[in-house]
Amino acid sequence: MTEQQTGDVPSARPYYQPPSLTGRPQPANLADILERVLDKGIIIAGDIRVNLLDIELLTIKLRLLVVSVDKAEEMGIDWWKHDPMLTVRERGLDEENRELRERLAQLEGTPDDEEGGQDEGDGSARGRQSAGSRSRGDA
């Protein structure tokens, strides 16, 4: 890949933006405002029945983007596409780690068989590995 040198910025990642200045009141960013208006505030049932589950699903979708885009997806993990009820807190780095170890163990153990589920590479991956089932998405 030949890249033109357009300045002294060395291959900045396209989505990276410098953090905004802090410490003073600013116009609300969309995440802040959605978080509050959609997810907080007084709940009184009006005459128009809003399906709160719909709203919760939406906010959960927004939350899932936090972990999905930067971390899970780049590792080829797509559990979040199948199980929208999982929250960020329930799926921390520990699980991400475990998922990765499982995949590593599978790849090293049986490079031509994704369904193999052998577990030789990393002892800490044991326990999750059973009956060739590595997907948590449809658990």
Binding site: S20, G23, P25, L100, L107
Partner: protein, 298 residues
């Protein structure tokens, strides 16, 4: 705009809704212009109009909301019961009916315009005293229905208003930029798939280790700020594309800070920034007390 808001039709409503500004000539009290006199016309259908509740407060000074408009530029009006005041405006059920909402809530640009419009009104009310913000899309058919909610929830709403009086919400986020993981990603291409996965594993473990220390820092920061607040809540981390903040959000918290302690709170933030220069502490406020306005809280 010649749209007329719906008016109360029954005589048992003790107080008619009142226009917020002196210039609002299309008073909601004029029954001749009523478009939703028969509640069955609006029920379950996408026709007619509804009354959108933004917030409940105590009595506002005259003209307090002058110059502030509701969704779609509709005038704001007040529905009163006792010392409680609901700030409302008229919305078309074509957009805010049940079916329409189900569709529209999934449309992020529609949602953004409505949440911002909702927040604009809540902010304007908050400038005049304690406010209990409603959750998005709290909609009644008419002012009588709004008043019935005020009557039903009067005690709880009064408690919420007492609880937030003289306080505002502050949002504080802690971001870790994780440069080590990025540096590893920039290394030369892996020789094999297994090599790639080993590197990924190392990167994730490195990230996990730094997250562990960041979590300790987050705990320290949260504890420092929480003891200067009346109440605090921890919220889920945010999508960087929505927040505009890059890095890993290791703390996203809301604090209910008494106005008289606001200077001390911001001083504590500055002190924390000095203590943790490598971390980004993003603090915003004051907000209306969205995160602390809940019915039935002890």
């Amino acid at each position: 705009m010649s749209d007329m808001p719906p008016a109360p039709t029954s005589a048992d409503g003790p107080e008619p809704s009142v226009p917020v500004s002196d210039t609002a000539t299309n008073s909601a009290t004029n029954p001749a212009t009523d478009t939703v006199t028969d509640s069955s016309t609006g029920q379950g259908s996408e026709q007619g109009t509804g009354r959108y509740l933004y917030a409940v407060c105590r009595r506002l000074p005259p003209g307090a909301l002058q110059g502030v408009h509701g969704l779609s530029g509709e005038p704001l009006e007040l529905v009163e019961h006792g010392d409680l005041v609901a700030v409302v405006s008229t919305v078309p059920l074509a957009s805010f009916g049940e079916d329409a909402l189900r569709r529209n809530l999934e449309d992020l640009s529609w949602l953004e315009s409505v949440v911002r419009g909702h927040d604009d009104v809540v902010q304007a009310v908050a400038a005049h005293g304690p406010v209990a913000p409603m959750r998005l899309a709290t909609i009644c058919f008419d002012d009588d229905a709004v008043r019935a909610r005020l009557r039903q929830w009067a005690v709880d709403l009064g408690y919420v208003l007492d609880r937030v009086t003289g306080s505002a919400e502050w949002s504080v986020k802690l971001l870790e930029l994780a440069p080590q993981a990025e540096a590893l990603e920039e290394a030369e291409a892996p020789a094999s798939g297994a090599e790639y996965l080993r590197r990924r594993k190392a990167a994730v473990e490195q990230r996990a280790a730094s997250s562990a220390s960041a979590a300790d820092v987050a705990d320290d920061i949260h504890a420092t700020l929480a003891c200067r607040a009346k109440a605090s809540r921890q919220l889920p981390p945010q999508d960087p594309r929505l927040s505009g903040l890059s890095g890993t959000m290791v703390l996203n918290a809301a604090y209910l800070v008494p106005d008289v302690d606001a200077a001390e709170f911001t001083a504590a933030l500055d002190e924390l920034r000095g203590r943790y220069p490598s971390l980004l502490i993003d603090a915003r406020g004051p907000w209306p007390p969205y995160s602390f306005a809940m019915l039935g809280q002890p």
